[in-house]
Symmetry: D2
Subunit: 297 residues, 4 copies
């Protein structure tokens, strides 16, 4: 399976008691299902996967797969600190319907997570997972970066389908594309470098803004396909500030707030993530207007 | 409850299939129970808590409390990424017999873990935990340091009993002692700065070497009590290299290997932690001999 | 003055006693003068500017301007830790013939180099420098990154002509292009992200490989001009490993060794930079052959 | 020569045009000369050495040696980015009267400053310097830490007399004391860990607060000598907040402002260091009053 296109990493909706809110999730999925998205990533960083139990994770995937169009992919975050637990979760989420496993690297024992240890980890997960593995490099959250050399070595395993690289390091992304096996998918992990990644030969992107302005993202891809570089650049530039607001600057609370404004359900985060403050909220409102969103509140 | 003395953060023993090995744990607990230790910390970083399930954590505490002398304390690691889950785990581990909860801070959403967010998290946990909370500052693993100012503010809560500071930052430790409430326990998080911490007014230490050479650690405390600073310094100096080997240098695999050599059961780690390599193994062997341990292999 | 094109940051040649070797410099300049380079950067990181005296800096610029074609630009590194000294050096190097001043930010007092302090510094330098200022963002060496917001604010000053961004952060580069004043030049600071930078609207690059394979760099620019993106990407990909070898991996000793191999004079570095070891030397030899260089040794 | 005692790293006084103000320096030296200080460090981080020219450095040392009591030591900062220049400066400052050279490590080419490169650098400087070398480890400013293993190896050279360790890492300080040669001086690089450093066998300290409250620092040393640990700890605790204010928090501008308040001349810093803001100024004023200083403004 070659994974390509652009995916929205969806948040997990909670009610005011911090319980998963399936009714609102259904409504969100219905809207995303009608959009130009290639698929969704469930249980990623934006899905607050670190705050969900094993059972909740299974429930989320089962529900999403059931309520999302069959022709669009559901990728599930299955990374845990332990190798064994990551394999077990990959098996369960595959059974629940996930088509691929997005596996963030273990990171608690930072100084022991050498390339040798990470390589052994991913090889074991690739062996044990019934669905293709997509490596998830997220140094901003894990404090560990996986090098192009490591990623390229891992790409040799037939069950490792690609990498979502959220480092934003375009040189590393370029080197990974150059040195990995034919057919290996390199994804931009954020919308702010979608165009540079695609230019260098990337296969797609997983990006929070795709859940907010999927048509804008689709338009970048189309401009690129047509060779209209000026248009692609212009659209990419327009995406930068909104992208920053719902990722690096204000995180999941920012993303959920943006979704609330445009007619999806965002809702609160599980603690320790705090609700968005007023200044950032105003900023997100303005950025949504500027990029052409119709606000419902 | 004032927490003081020196504690061994015990590793979780696994068999070759990576399952918890209760028989060997019982034997270890029997030996530690006869030693000069004030107590043990179960499910800390050395306990590979990030690779254990909720159920395994409950089982570990129940078993440890049952097989460890009642007059010695069992402190349980209860920190999770989510606030709600941390409270839930604290309640269950309290029921299982833990006398205090060691709570490492959430760290995945690094840039959102502001002092405000961490303060709200710990206040909620302190409210919800039926047993006293000991804050666990472990920047080497979490990538986040909690300042003396934050720790001192948190010390005002009556159910926050202390902090195990593994930063090794003696200025921060001193400032925390100076500014926290009377009766708040500041613990050295590693054996390499036990003496400086006690000199500045610390209440004790949680340190991997305490599980290997408890009498050596006790001798430092005694020399200090007697005002024999020269002796205390000499003993502290002797501890440095072994301490580094079973913590920062070789981590849990180093600690488990050392235990194997001196007649405890160490055994393998859960992956992704790799087995110790030969060079480090030889080094640990020599360091144990140098500090006077009798090797059983 | 709009600065554009691609520049080679040239090394300062030393003899075996670590004295500047003007004869060899003349020969190098003659060759670079005949190449497709837009100009050279003298006294940059590759010029070991931190190991040169004020007088040596003046001498270098005077000599380079004299022996380099008048129609090609000479940009001089003038950044010092002090604001006043930076201005004084800019004045002297302008008199010596430099057409622009590349100003790395002060970085010794790291925690005090707030955006406010850096803004005041650059505004004062821009006021005092008789030649246009090009900001030099080099976080790998300085430990400080200058944000797109700061760079954009600084771009408003008419005597700040551009930025050489060596962060490699393509999002920051994109945002700087988007938010800076019309006519402000954003340069890639290394050859490994030349194409992505140009795609996003950059004006050029200053890159060590330009002094080794200027025609290869020119070919990327030409392919881009013709809209032949596939060709541009292929050429960019071919540049990556050599670029890494003479910058991030082996630094100035790597660059000088590569120059030695292809018929320029590289020579030794001033200490504390150590001579290249054998393994890296072999690697650079192979990379030069692979990219089509004719080796003269 | 065994270097011991406590030293004040003095700031370089400037007038409003940023020129060195020798008249005010003379007055300051007169007062410090009458105090309990063992000596002064000139051209350290607090001396803004990075903003001074070679000639100004020579002038500073000559003037200080001339106007400071002959029985008290003058240590000169001689570290430069280049090895050769560091040796040259050490020779000139020795001729100007300095009794020891405080040598900060080169740090601009961060990734190339391996332990091997730094060892070669310091060995060459030790060979070339006519006065004893004191290594200066200042990771907060240089971005590089020198390990206890490196420091201990360097201690074998007879002309390397000691290290001023400003890392604040008490474990590293302890290990350096344990593993370095007999007679090697390990100094606390800041007043906030004077007591822990002395307890572990340190030989003294170089600390900004020593220039403000020398008697308070002397009292810590005396309490230690008498074995009055409780008193020593109390005095150390009282020093913490003021020490932080004139070092890590507000830097040289904070130190100079404090000196201005207590009757010394502080004056402005050379840019890019900004003048102290009002809030910090108020804070320093209060901290000085709290520790018992008589304010003259």
């Amino acid at each position: 399976m070659k994974i390509s296109g652009f995916f929205a990493p969806i948040p997990t909706p909670f009610n005011d008691r911090e319980d998963i809110d399936l009714d609102h999730l259904r409504e969100n999925l219905l809207k995303w299902g009608r959009s130009s998205l290639s698929g969704i990533v469930v249980l990623g960083s934006n899905g607050e996967f670190v705050s969900l139990s094993f059972e909740e994770k299974v429930q989320m995937i089962r529900f999403c797969r059931e309520h999302f169009p069959a022709e669009k992919k559901v990728i599930a975050g299955t990374g845990c600190e332990g190798t064994r637990e990551t394999i077990r979760l990959s098996i369960h989420l595959a059974e629940a319907g996930a088509e691929a496993a997005l596996v963030v690297n273990p990171s608690y024992y930072k100084s022991k997570m050498t390339e040798k240890a990470l390589e052994a980890h991913y090889m074991a997960v690739a062996e044990g997972s019934p669905i293709p593995v997509m490596i998830y490099n997220m140094p901003g959250n894990t404090g560990i970066n996986m090098s192009a050399a490591l990623l390229s070595r891992l790409s040799r395993h037939p069950n490792i389908a690609g990498v979502k690289d959220s480092s934003g390091n375009i040189v590393q992304i370029s080197s990974t594309i150059k040195d990995s096996r034919e057919g290996f998918s390199v994804f931009a992990g954020s919308g702010s470098y979608l165009l540079p990644t695609m230019i260098m030969g990337g296969s797609g992107a997983t990006m929070a803004v795709a859940g907010i302005v999927p048509d804008h993202c689709a338009a970048i891809m189309e401009a690129l396909d047509k060779g209209d570089l000026a248009k692609a650049r212009e659209l990419q530039m327009e995406l930068l500030d909104l992208n920053a607001a719902v990722t690096s600057k204000y995180g999941v609370p920012g993303l959920k707030y943006a979704l609330d404004l445009i007619g999806f359900y965002g809702g609160p985060c599980r603690r320790p993530l705090l609700p968005l403050e007023e200044g950032p909220a105003m900023e997100i409102r303005e950025l949504l207007l500027r990029i052409g969103c119709k606000l419902e509140r």
